[in-house]
């Protein structure tokens, strides 16, 4: 798959964060923390990725009774391919923001 110009830096960050999870599920709040993207940007972005067939979503049953189920996310096979083809830009603030959270 070719490198696409249509992905914004924020989208690349989210793709990279999901790719780092290597097939396991992520929560929206965690993604916001890891990427440093505001929740107001993150959720429309996740919708967009799901619409494109790059993101798989599921409802996770509550861990304790009385708590609501949580919506969880991971990349589809196509999403993994796209994430690899569209890494975070080599320079710029987006890369550093992802690294900051990882340390």
């Amino acid at each position: 798959m070719t490198r696409s110009r249509s992905f914004s830096p924020a989208a690349r960050l989210v793709l990279a964060a999901l790719l780092d999870k290597a097939g396991s599920w992520s929560y929206g709040y965690d993604l916001a923390k890891i990427t440093g993207i505001k929740s107001g940007t993150l959720y429309p972005l996740l919708i967009r990725l799901e619409e494109r067939g790059l993101l798989e979503t599921e409802w996770q049953p509550p861990a304790e009774p009385g708590r609501p189920p949580r919506h969880i996310y991971k990349l589809t096979a196509a999403g993994i391919e796209v994430a690899r083809a569209n890494p975070i830009e080599p320079s710029g603030a987006d890369r550093s923001s992802l690294r900051e959270v990882r340390t």
Partner: protein, 378 residues
């Protein structure tokens, strides 16, 4: 305690967000609600909910608007959108005229003009079916009418812009010039360039800074998207025409209910001012919605937008007619006549290019429907 109360309040708002969500996106609103509930810190949960809630609310509104206007399904193309915008703007204008105690005859003229304009729009298919030679002749006739208006039209304080139609004065340039520009935007023929050169001369003679400026704006936009010698000549002529209008005196006093409407309505009531300003913005909706969404109709939509934006700006900064919202049938008919030259539906959705041939860039995917990608119009 306060934070807990605010958190409960935010949860209530998120429940409302679930109600606002289109059916296929409802899970996302529920997702934010449950995610916020899982965050232990009240302040953090509140920030998260407020941010995600507002982001999703905007997305949901956008999707619902797209559905309501038929943009997502392809039911509404630029032409239909222009008709809807015109109807909404004229209706807001009617409210403005009523609130401002204008005579009911003024309101009737605007409504009748809307009827005439919509009838023209309904017959747009006939226009599009005409052979190129007939269109060239029509363009030359329109340009000739502009010159005739400048020579023999009704004069006021040395300015000659109107033609008497019974008890009404019609500003021919406001009706014909945007349509001429749109014809040229569709196909930049030599005849079209000549018609625009003649039109530029007519604007310089009247003199009419607003329409001369609109001409420059429309052709300059075309120059950005499609450069050839015809556009170059038209642009040079329109720029010279505009300069000629600027060096001539144009001191007509403002006409009540027609000019200065954008600024005066704010003084009557902020809500009215906002409604009138919104109506002005609505007129640009076809350009905003399709100017960058669909490469094949971008040219016509962008020229349409640039032309009417210039006319609106002229009405804001000078004593020139306020299109569609103020009293005046010429702008209403002119807007809808120029909208006749807009594509009826996005050509890419039909799998066609502007020449009617199969397009390489056909059906946009679901994502593009939801979040149209900004593409180059060039």
């Amino acid at each position: 305690m306060i934070r807990r109360t605010v958190r409960k309040l935010s949860d209530r708002l998120l429940v409302q967000l679930v109600g606002l969500a289109p059916a296929h996106l409802r899970d996302w609103a529920e997702a934010v609600r449950s995610e916020a509930a899982a965050i232990a810190d009240d302040g953090e949960a509140l920030r998260f909910a407020a941010g995600a809630g507002s982001g999703l609310a905007l997305t949901f509104i956008k999707v619902r608007l797209n559905d309501a206007l038929g943009l997502a399904s392809g039911r509404t193309g630029p032409r239909r959108l222009a008709a809807l915008a015109a109807i909404a703007a004229v209706m807001i204008g009617v409210v403005h005229l009523h609130v401002a105690d204008a005579a009911s005859s003024l309101i009737l003229v605007n409504i009748a003009s809307l009827g005439v304009g919509l009838a023209l729009l309904a017959g747009a298919a006939v226009w599009r079916g005409l052979p190129e030679s007939a269109r060239s002749i029509a363009a030359m006739i329109m340009a000739g009418l502009l010159v005739l208006t400048s020579l023999f039209g009704v004069s006021s304080d040395g300015v000659v812009r109107w033609v008497a139609a019974g008890p009404l004065l019609v500003q021919s340039s406001l009706i014909l010039l945007p349509a001429l520009l749109m014809m040229f935007a569709r196909k930049t023929t030599a005849a079209g360039a000549v018609a625009l050169v003649v039109g530029a001369v007519a604007m310089a003679m009247q003199p009419d800074r607003a329409m001369a400026g609109a001409m420059v704006a429309g052709i300059a936009m075309l120059w950005l998207l499609h450069r050839n010698w015809q556009v170059k000549i038209a642009l040079a002529a329109s720029a010279l025409g505009f300069v000629a209008t600027m060096v001539q005196a144009d001191n007509l006093p403002p006409v009540r209910f027609t000019e200065g409407v954008f600024t005066q309505t704010w003084q009557v009531h902020p809500l009215l001012g906002f409604a009138v300003a919104s109506a002005g913005a609505l007129l640009l909706l076809p350009a905003a919605a399709f100017g960058t969404r669909d490469r094949n109709c971008a040219r016509q939509c962008a020229v349409f937008g640039a032309t009417w934006l210039a006319i609106i700006l002229a009405a804001v900064i000078g004593h020139y007619p306020t299109p569609l919202v103020g009293y005046g049938g010429s702008a209403i008919i002119g807007y809808l006549l120029s909208a006749c030259m807009l594509p009826p539906t996005p050509l890419a959705r039909q799998g066609l290019d502007s020449a009617g041939k199969p397009s390489a860039r056909a059906q946009p995917d679901n994502l593009a429907r939801l979040f149209p990608r900004r593409t180059s119009c060039a």
